[in-house]
Amino acid sequence: MMKLRYIALLAIALPYAGNAGISLVSTIDNKPLAIPGAMFDTPAAKEFMSSGKNTYLGNADAIKTGKKIFQMYSCTACHGAKGEGAVGPNLIDDRWNYTKNANDQGIFETIWAGTAGGMGAKGAGAMVPDDPTQGLSPDEVLKVVAFLRSNAVKH
């Protein structure tokens, strides 16, 4: 409850992108994701919010940081060291449980708010409902995606 009110208030106070930007939806129920606009606080995050493009793709520094984050949050536990899959799905081949994960906006939505198939939300405010300081910032999600895309294997 606390968390819903908190996020709702923030969402009203700081609408995230305005008309020009993309709108993000939850992979679980397709409902709009209320992410405070202030959280898109880097050039890459701002660019993503306006165009849906991940400018970190192919950026060696971002990929390196993305790898660290992938390990830090034990994504490796379910998805393997490179995202090749373990108890959770492979994230670097071309088969997806949610086809939208093939594009940058889709996979951002899935990481941010989770799925109905066992993947918990990883976005700040969504990961631990009563502690919005835990979880990834939008910028960090984009770096994780850059890391995963850099490992992609074509079949």
Binding site: M72, S74, A77, G85, N90, D93, V128
Partner: protein, 622 residues
Amino acid sequence: MKTTTLKLALAGVLGLSSLSSLAATELENLMKDDNQWAHPRKDYANTGYSRLSQINKGNVRNLKMAWSFATGVNRGHEGAPLVINDVMYVHTAFPNNVYALDLNDNQKIIWSYFPKQDPSIQALLCCDSVNRGLGYGDGKIFLQQNDGKLVALDAKTGTKIWDVQVVDTKKGASNTNAPHIIKDKVITGCSGGEYGVRCYISAYNIKDGSLAWRAYSTGPDSEMLIGDGFNKENPHYSSLSLYEDVNGGNKEGGSFKALTKDQLKFPEKELGTRTWLKPQAMQNGYEHGGGPTWGWYSFDPALNLMYYGTGNPGTWNPDVRPGDNKWSMTIFARDVDTGMARWGYQLTPHDEWDYDSMNEIVLWEAKGKKLATHFDRNGFGYTFDRTNGTLLVAEKMHPFVNWASKVDLKTGVPIKDPKFSTHQDYNAQGICPSALGVKDEQPSAYSPKTGKFYVPLNHVCMTYEPVESKYIAGQPWVGATLTMFAGPDGVMGGFMAWDGLKGKSVWYNKEKFSAWGGALVTSSDIVFYGTLDRWFKAVDAQTGKELWKFQVGSGIVGNAITYSHKGKQYVGVLSGIGGWAGVAMNLGLSNETDGLGAAGGYKELTKWNAAPGGGGMNVFSL
């Protein structure tokens, strides 16, 4: 906290003594009756041994499938059904359904039980959505659901009598073990070593599900139920530090040199907190110290001691938890009435490889001695004097074990090889065995007739790279990435007979894949076990020679059992590939390095199994 628990335990014992002894007698009689299979490993001693001998070496080749039962559930089917008074009780992988089958009426379903569990629980199960079976006692069937709920069902009707929440799934804990009925207690464990859970073992009163006692694997002595007389005969097991740092210890290039007995300081108290040296990843490392307890528990009625092992310390990154990390990786003997620890021996101090010690402890006698034997993930086969924990034998189960050269019997401390020490951001190569262990949960069997153990094995090595990771309650907290590959024999598994006194294998058969099914041995000297490429096998207990095999519908990770019905002997096993070895396949993975590294080596499993593996019970007779 401790006094309350003890008082409760005492009150429970006194109040229920007359009823409980009746319940215990009924179960103990069922265990002695070879027509039944009333306990997860048949008896308190965890032998997996039956005196049934109708199926013998002369006729075993004529075994035919008598009947089968598809469970309607996919993925890993570990454990085994119970058979009690002509009823077979079958459990399944998640969502842990239970069926009571009437052996007197063509296995018609008498009752069934369908737990309602949140599907998200499956994400907490590190190594497939397995459940290792049911317990029986006091007219009740006990189910330990994956979501932490322990349920008592009326064995005749399936009606729920009581239930209780054993672990907190919000903190990332879950359950996969079979509940074990010991006297008037239901003993159950805790999974969550990869989630920073501080695990414990719990004893509930069989009548009403009230908690009799609970013993943590880490933390203050009072919460671990460690008191006076603990490790009395082996005080050096209670040393503050077993190693000295070499080249800085917990960093790349560092390692650990075992101290000799005269260098050790003992006995010490409060080791469950004091062996988590500063700085830990978390303020008090023991508070997220793991020590899961999801194995097979044994019991000696004469000593009134139960035996079990604890698993890995959290996290897998050893550098951020300096110290021996007690009492993870430990075998405990506890008084089953009070939970108080009699002795405890840590097998892999300051674990660097995820070598859990939760594998079964089998109780046996030889040369007038009360013994206990344990085949550890770390690759050593141990034999103890079970009255006091004195270590008698610790030998490598296979020469490929390389992380330690030997175990010093004077101290009980493994001599680690610095070459295979693991450190943050350094990818250690060629470590044998892999985290799967030379043996994992698949239980061994012991025959008092041959005096030998029959042991299903993995033969897998690994690379292991500890990484920095962040603890967040309820989220995975792993801290290492690994890849696995076949060991030097060029295969991934094996099966052996073992002499527990000499610490030597008597015979050894290679297996193409991990032998991830539990063993059964009978008094006609036949050993039964299943394989991941779908074979259910009978081999000669003396020689290991294959006598019979039959191919079932999916790879076997269940334990073989035997019982008799209307004078006829049956053997049976659950099929349904999964568990750590099969999990990658169940998820449809195919890359070399898939599945905590397991899929690479196990890739060929997809040539032998449809995925996900379908669950079924397979029963054979002459």
